[in-house]
Symmetry: C2
Subunit: 319 residues, 2 copies
């Protein structure tokens, strides 16, 4: 199939059911044109490469499409932005069946439509390398109602939007213990189809008492470290308060793992890590796991006792 008929079929695969009035001009021209009604735009781009970020042995094409959307919408959520549009740049190995590409893009289109983020453009190229999906996500921002990594203040509560470590445990199950994976569908699903916290991000973005946010993609310690560095503050985390996913303790015991390891250093959960005035109404439903301190550095406490902290920078990795 040539480039143009594949693009035509991708267009059909991703078309949202209803036209979005914010899309002045969608797929098919030199560029898309979007209404930036709130006056500011948040924009982010992230790549997913077969063999680096995922494998078709562990993920279906539909998982890959869902995940590519979630990873990028999660960055918008961490800014408190409202999703506006997505672009897809696809690198397709010459040996790859177009059916796989279309399955990826149909799932991506569904995930995009669920979050009102129409697919407005992109490009397709063949490659001698692995399959790759680079997504660009655009969001709307009103004035200063967005959340950076640099706004955390001493005294802020540190909160998480949900359990941590599920994706890491899901990946370990799939990769190393496929026989056990079937018994833990929710952990496996957390790895294959993480959910971006888009609605929550929008709520937090417009809440005055929320000072900073980041999504947990590299792991709690690494992503917390990014915020502490950018905000020039420190933090105390009470690890027993970190919510663990359902089944994490049992599966960790069965496999000889520490569920706290997965929660502290496992990436790809895409929950939000939020820094806010403890009295801010918008964060009352989130789980508080610690406090921002004026003194730089990070301390972990377990049941009131200080833990020896692994080197946070050690968690940084070249993806």
């Amino acid at each position: 199939m040539d480039e143009f008929s594949l693009i035509d079929r991708i267009k059909t695969a991703v078309r949202a059911r209803a036209a979005d009035p914010r899309v002045v001009l969608g797929i098919g021209d030199d560029a898309a044109v979007l209404d930036a009604a709130l006056g500011r735009i948040a924009v982010t781009t992230d790549a997913m490469i077969e063999g680096v970020h995922f494998g078709f042995d562990l993920c279906s094409p539909a998982d890959v499409g869902e995940r590519a959307v979630a990873v990028n919408l999660s960055d918008l959520a961490a800014m408190g932005a409202r999703p506006l549009a997505l672009l897809f740049s696809l690198e397709i190995p010459r040996s790859m069946d177009d059916g796989v590409v279309l399955a990826v893009m149909r799932a991506a289109g569904r995930a995009a439509a669920r979050h009102s983020a129409p697919v407005v453009g992109g490009n397709v190229t063949s490659t001698p390398g692995p399959f790759g999906v680079t997504v660009t996500a655009l969001g709307d921002v009103a004035g200063d109602a967005f959340l950076t990594r640099s706004g955390a203040r001493p005294g802020d509560a540190i909160l998480v939007s949900g359990p941590l470590g599920a994706a890491a445990l899901g990946l370990i199950l799939l990769r190393d213990h496929p026989g056990h994976a079937r018994s833990h569908p929710s952990l496996v699903r957390s790895y294959r189809r993480p959910a971006a916290r888009v609605e929550l991000g929008m709520t937090l973005g417009s809440a005055g008492g929320v000072h900073a946010a980041i999504d947990v993609s590299d792991g709690l310690l690494a992503d917390l470290g990014h915020v502490l560095d950018a905000s020039k503050v420190g933090a105390r985390i009470d690890v027993e308060r970190i919510p663990l996913p359902r089944g994490a303790r049992r599966v960790s015991r069965d496999l000889g793992l520490d569920p706290l390891d997965a929660a502290l250093s496992g990436g790809d959960d895409y929950e939000l890590l939020v820094f806010a005035d403890p009295a801010e109404p918008a964060v009352q439903a989130l789980r508080r796991v610690g406090t921002v301190t004026k003194a730089r550095g990070l301390t972990l406490h377990r049941d009131g006792k200080r833990m020896i902290l692994p080197d946070v920078r050690g968690y940084r990795h070249r993806k």
Copy 2:
């Protein structure tokens, strides 16, 4: 070098000399935040893969950086948009020296700064495949002052912004006749460092008599075909009016090529192909090469005689 120190060095490599007031938040957070002062945004993305779109045997790292910027800004130019910002997604083979990546990005940063298109974000990933650069370009658009592919009208003049075929001849020289390449620096440069017609695009975008535009990336016939299809019109082209690059006739004679072939079907020139009221002042400096017709289909004339037309769709290729 790990991901983070490479990103830090890329940040330094691409930093524009002066801060751009439109960039509310640049590299280093979950997303960039941009002022969309004109109310609308044009956005496009394009990938360049080593071994598919370029080779380091024919292009220097600086050429690759310049070209990645030009290709994407050219799409904005074809929309009549004002460049606002660029994002870079880099896929880096594990064996690649970081110095090459930094040379690419330094040149990209210079090209971006020349067109007031600050680099505001991106991502870096290692890959088992070839080196790849996926650029996303954002531009400002005011109201309906943008140019689609679908606005061409019967009677419109068809104009080009400069000579066609230079990049194709430059590539043939470099690849097949390296001994001759040195004698034709401007053709070689057209291939290695095409110039996006950004200023012209902005002028045309706000000119009421300009009805459609596209940049010549796939070749005149292919790109003309896109506009004719989208606008549901036909065209007559007078091929002797197509401007050829300086030296094209001589080098074509020397190498046994037809310079018209390169002009009609050679891609990568990134001149603009413009469809406008013949009386529109903004297009008087452009070269008129034909006329839009109500009757669908494309006819080529040479010195008043109709030529047999190659199948336009035959020029379409999966890149």
